[in-house]
Amino acid sequence: MSEETLQVFIDGVINYFHHTSEKEVKVGSPYLIENNSPAAFDYTGIIGISGPYRGSVYFTAPKALLTHLLLAIGEKDTSMEYIMDLVGEVANTIAGNARSKFGQDFLISVPVVVEGAPSNIHLPKDLRSYVIPVYWRAYSSAVVICLEA
């Protein structure tokens, strides 16, 4: 998978934060993980990809970041329901960005939000994923990309 493809998904997340009142977001140094031990924070929004590449991309973040992010977009209700919605929203933005960049050849699913790590349905065991840390304020979150050609 090319760097450009990965970048599209990373940009999706950055895009989302750019639409909040606190735009300052930093991308950390990407690294690899084996899928048999997926990395995840409290909540994870997953999108499925099909087409020239197949697999999944997910955004995972701790509850604290999401709570803070809700406040940053002017939402006072920080119940779990809203937090789940927010994670889905970020995943949606990633999907939208990917759709506009990749065009019709790629199929991108509606996001699914889970607590904790995605199940192995989304992550083929014998593959690796790219972890791209995303820092916002004092919090860390990550985009995890697992695609195969």
Binding site: V27, S29, L107, H122
Partner: protein, 711 residues
């Protein structure tokens, strides 16, 4: 018309039969009724004949009594005339058939009486009537009183004689005619009863036979429907009909829902069924294609090549946010009814398995080709060495990933990370080229280039490392496939022998089988690339009993030292010749276990030694130190410079030198195992690096080798 009735033929025949039956009963009824009416007239007139006989007699007597009274005589004579004529005419009519008058004076026609008893009565009556009639005729015809009286007397005599008999005969006729009439009525009743019975039977036949038949037909239909349903439930294809508006019909195979993820297609538009699953352009083309099938002038058999959905990949979203990819084949065929194109039958086949199989075959083929290429790239390497190299590679990848994983926003730390990764990659490259694993070496070289480019960048961000992560991933992937191949190769017995025939025949003849043969090869290669001549003599390598960990380090160090010796110390052949040296330089590498248990590696060469002035000018160029300071550097100080990161005195960067790591890695690795390094050099004569490790250095560090696996 008849054939159009089809299965309704029988019922039409039955109903027609019923009508014919009814009509014949009715007409018979009519006929007999008329006959009975005729008979009634006959009976009536026969009865009148009885009365007429008496009236005739009475008229005869009236005539006698009216003698002398002309008026009365006249009346009586008229009465006699009328009675006589009426009786006579009626009798004749009964006898031969003919006209007579009824009570109202109207003409009626009588049929000849044919019954036996009737005939007897009439025939007898005729015999009696003949003389009687003659006598009466004479009375009527008589003129004059005397003639009248005479004829009257003879007539009265006959009347007295025959009247009762004639009355009886007329009575017989009446009775007979009545009997005949009664008989006719009875026949009529029989006919009517028979007709009604037949009609009822016919009705019952219709009822039982045809209703049964209809029931059976219904059952057939039901069975047929059930059969259709059964077929639709069991076929492996998705089947449905499309009408001209491209709306899906009510009946379809159950497999269809299966194929389309449980979607109920009934009554949906075709576009609603597949619109979300195929590309918009494909959908549009498909709709246009189906429309062509509804055009009668288009030859259905001649457009199948244009079917845009004959093999189409669809992605059905599942509940987990992923996609199920299916390969479907749609076939479209026309359904005509009475020569008109009514529907298009769509057959959907799930050909995922076939497509996957074909793809797998293709991939296997491709992989086979790749593996062949890989095979050629690793075939020359000793399996044991290759195995060690792969393990080292994974260790290095693990370390690189660990460096990547370390997060920091400080530019200094990021630079250090780049440096650290570079060292790892460079070291890896060195080992790869020493083993002539050119693919690895080339890959590492590209990796290095990207790191170098990043190093030049003034501002580094986390995202800049993405490129490196991608390189790392590809290297891991490549190494995994090589490992797979190497494991396979290792399972072949002949390959266990390092001196097997698959080795390159250009290999040095003198070298015995050894795990260290690659060092000799490295020396040859580097010399060749640098246009130098050098010979490596290995001593003690095969004999020293060292563990894997030590072996790994000795290997790394040897590679670096040997390469340095060739690149930096050994002179070009002409130069050596001019100096009175042998054109071929000599490098001695010795590995020995000292009596103290320490492990010592020394690499000695007979080249020009360390060029301190070159180091000094390089140090000046870097500009890290004052000129005055550099001028004052002792040999010892200059020597320490070569162990600094990024310091190289090579003129050109190439695979073997000039990248400025090498000595600093060596320093780091030696430190890691508490080793000591000693350098001795005599300008123009020789140079020697000696490294000593404590006896227990490797035993302690054994655990460390386990780390490094990615993640």
């Amino acid at each position: 018309m008849w054939s159009a009735l089809g299965k309704y033929k029988a019922i039409v025949v039955s109903i027609a039969l019923f009508l014919i039956l009814d009509a014949s009963v009715l007409s018979l009824n009519f006929f007999i009724s008329f006959k009975i009416a005729d008979d009634a007239v006959g009976v009536n007139l026969a009865g009148r004949q009885r009365m007429l006989t008496q009236r005739t007699v009475k008229s005869l007597y009236d005539l006698r009594l009216a003698e002398g009274d002309t008026v009365k005589q006249e009346t009586a004579l008229n009465e006699l005339k009328t009675t006589y004529n009426l009786f006579n005419t009626t009798l004749t009519a009964f006898d031969k058939g003919g006209e007579t008058k009824n009570a109202n004076g109207e003409t009626v026609v009588l049929k000849r009486v044919n019954s036996d008893a009737g005939r007897v009565a009439i025939d007898e009556a005729k015999i009696i009537w003949q003389p009687y009639s003659d006598a009466i005729a004479k009375v009527i015809a008589a003129s004059g009183t005397a003639a009248m009286a005479q004829s009257l007397n003879s007539a009265i005599v006959i009347a007295g004689d025959k009247n009762l008999l004639l009355l009886k005969l007329m009575n017989d006729l009446t009775v007979n005619l009545e009997q005949v009439a009664t008989h006719q009525a009875t026949v009529l009743r029989y006919i009517q009863t028979g007709g009604i019975t037949l009609a009822i039977i016919n009705f019952l036949i219709i009822l039982f036979h045809f209703i049964g038949e209809l029931r059976q037909n219904d059952k057939f239909l039901e069975d047929a429907r059930k059969e259709t349903t059964d077929i639709l439930d069991t076929v492996n294809e998705g089947l449905f009909l499309l009408d001209k508006d491209l709306v899906i019909g009510e009946q379809q195979s159950s497999q269809l829902a299966e194929i389309f993820g449980g979607k109920d297609a009934r009554g949906l538009k075709f576009s609603d069924l597949i619109g979300d699953l195929v590309k918009p352009k494909d959908l549009e083309t498909a709709q246009r294609f189906v429309n062509l099938l509804f055009r009668p002038d288009v030859k259905g058999n001649l457009i199948s090549d244009l079917n845009p959905l004959n093999q189409v990949e669809i992605n059905i979203p599942d509940e987990d946010g992923g996609y199920i990819t299916r390969h479907l084949s749609f076939e479209f065929s026309r359904v005509s009814k009475d020569g008109e194109l009514k529907n298009v039958l769509v057959t959907v086949n799930d050909i995922t398995e076939q497509v996957m199989l074909a793809r797998e075959l293709e991939e296997t083929k491709e992989k086979g080709e790749q593996q062949l290429e890989m095979l050629t790239s690793i075939l020359h390497a000793n399996p044991g060495v290759l195995k060690r190299f792969i393990q080292n590679a994974f260790d290095a990848y693990g370390r690189i990933n660990k460096i990547l994983k370390e997060q920091s926003k400080s530019p200094a730390v990021m630079q250090r990370k780049l440096n650290d990764i570079f060292i790892e990659v460079h070291n890896f490259k060195g080992e790869a080229s020493a083993l002539e694993l050119d693919n690895f070496a080339e890959y590492a070289h590209v990796f290095e280039d990207d790191i170098q480019a990043l190093k030049q960048q003034s501002k580094l961000a986390g995202n800049d490392f993405l490129k490196l992560a991608v390189h790392l991933e590809s290297l891991i992937r490549y190494t995994e496939s090589i490992k797979e191949l190497a494991d396979k190769l290792a399972s072949f017995a002949f390959n266990q022998d390092p001196s097997s025939s698959v080795r390159s025949p250009t290999n040095h003849e003198n070298v015995t089988s050894s795990d260290w043969k690659h060092l000799t090869k490295l020396c040859e290669n580097v010399s060749q690339r640098d246009k130098k001549q050098a010979q490596l003599v290995l001593t003690g390598f095969d004999e020293a009993k060292i563990n894997d960990d030590a072996q790994k380090l000795v290997n790394e160090l040897s590679i670096q030292f040997i390469r340095n010796a060739v690149v930096h110390s050994i002179e070009h052949p002409e130069f050596r010749k001019a100096r009175g040296k042998h054109e071929t330089g000599r490098i001695d590498a010795r590995l020995s276990r000292l009596p103290t248990g320490e492990l010592e590696l020394s690499v000695h060469d007979d080249g020009c030694g360390i060029n301190y002035e070159k180091i000094r000018s390089k140090a000046l160029m870097i500009g890290k130190w004052d000129k005055a300071e550099v001028e004052k550097f002792t040999h010892q100080q200059l020597l320490s410079l070569i162990f600094l990161p990024g310091f190289s005195t090579a003129d050109n960067q190439n695979e073997d030198a000039g990248r400025g790591v090498g000595m600093d890695i060596i320093k780091k690795r030696i430190d890691q195992y508490q080793g000591k390094i000693k350098v001795s050099s005599s300008s123009g004569k020789h140079c020697q690096f000696t490294v000593t490790f404590p006896a227990d250095a490797f035993a302690q560090n054994e655990i460390d080798t386990q780390q490094g696996k990615v993640a």
